[in-house]
């Protein structure tokens, strides 16, 4: 979804039961990496996150999950949890990269409860309330 006020894109994450909503502001390139995958579009050439998936497949490394771990000063932090040769490790990532990878590897996306609590600030709620259906562009389809 495009945010005309900030000239940025927003990824909307929801809980399975639709009870929780977590919107994350991301850049244009990151948004297109996510929406390409959501829409099942494969680009004529491997995009950056497709290359990462090829790399993971090549070395038989599995993405167990991605977790949105923290929110500080309107910036979200995430970790990608991987399994490689029977050992687990995690690497720091921006949420946009983590989500783009999760969608390509069919790994689950989690948010820590504390993050969900933190993000319910008034400003945001108001912004969301003012949203009209027309604001949802092609990226949300």
């Amino acid at each position: 979804m495009f945010d005309p006020y900030n000239n940025a894109y927003i990824v909307i994450l929801r809980g399975e039961d639709q009870a929780e909503v977590l919107p994350i502001w991301v850049g244009k390139a990151e948004a297109s990496a996510i929406s390409l995958s959501l829409e099942g579009v494969s680009a004529p050439r491997p995009m950056t996150h497709d290359m990462m998936k090829s790399l993971l497949d090549l070395y038989d490394a599995k993405v167990i999950s991605v977790v949105i771990t923290d929110l500080a000063d309107n910036t979200y932090y995430a970790k990608i949890h991987l399994l490689y040769q029977d050992s687990e490790f995690s690497i720091d990532s921006r949420p946009s990269d983590a989500i783009a990878i999760a969608l390509r590897t069919e790994a689950p996306i989690f948010a820590q409860e504390a993050v969900l609590k933190k993000q319910t600030n008034e400003e945001l709620e108001q912004w969301l309330e003012n949203l009209k259906p027309e604001d949802f562009g092609k990226l949300d389809s």
Binding site: G27, K28, A29, E30, R45, P46, M47, T48, H49, M51, M52, S54, L55, L56, L58, Y59, A61, T75, Y77, I80, L82, Y84, F89, I91, D92, S93, R94, D97
Partner: protein, 160 residues
């Protein structure tokens, strides 16, 4: 000795000379040059890809890991060495690249867009090569003329 290396596969090492914004389109141009500066290879890339290359070239560390920094930490965690990247082919104006990886004595290759390959090479400090064949077939006369006019002025401002 069983793998023949045709003349056209001769590799030339290139360095990133600069990243230039193309004012006419929403793209950037990565200008690669060889050590002797006798060859120039311009490659058009997207805005995000151009930025990923510029950040690495200028040694800027961002507060949060950008996509190619993430790839670097992934590669490092998996114990993989990135040995070299090679620009292997050009069809019309589209370039193709291969990333050469090595882990525990086993060599593997990964297809990539040149922009990703270069952004990764700069972060892994591995050499960037182009085949002689690609250099021979690069761009058209028009692009050369266009670049000759553009480069001296634009790269100066970029590199200050």
């Amino acid at each position: 000795m069983s793998t023949p290396t045709p003349q056209s596969q001769e590799l030339i090492e290139l360095k990133v000379h600069g990243v230039v914004r193309d004012e006419n389109t929403d793209t950037q141009i990565v200008v690669l040059r060889d050590e002797q500066r006798s060859e120039v290879l311009p490659i058009w890339v997207g805005l995000a890809e151009g930025n990923a290359i510029r950040l690495a070239q200028e040694g800027i560390v961002t507060p949060r890991p950008m996509t190619h920094d993430l790839i670097r930490s992934l590669v490092t965690h998996l114990g993989i060495q990135v040995r070299q990247v090679v620009i292997t082919d050009v069809k019309n104006t589209t370039y193709f690249a291969t990333v050469y990886l090595s882990s525990k004595g086993v060599d593997r290759t990964l297809d990539a867009r040149p922009s990703d390959a270069i952004a990764l090479a700069l972060r892994m400090q591995c050499p960037i090569y182009v085949t002689q064949d690609v250099l021979n077939r690069r761009g058209g006369a028009n692009a050369d003329v266009w670049l000759e006019k553009l480069i001296p002025k634009k790269t100066d401002t970029q590199e200050v």
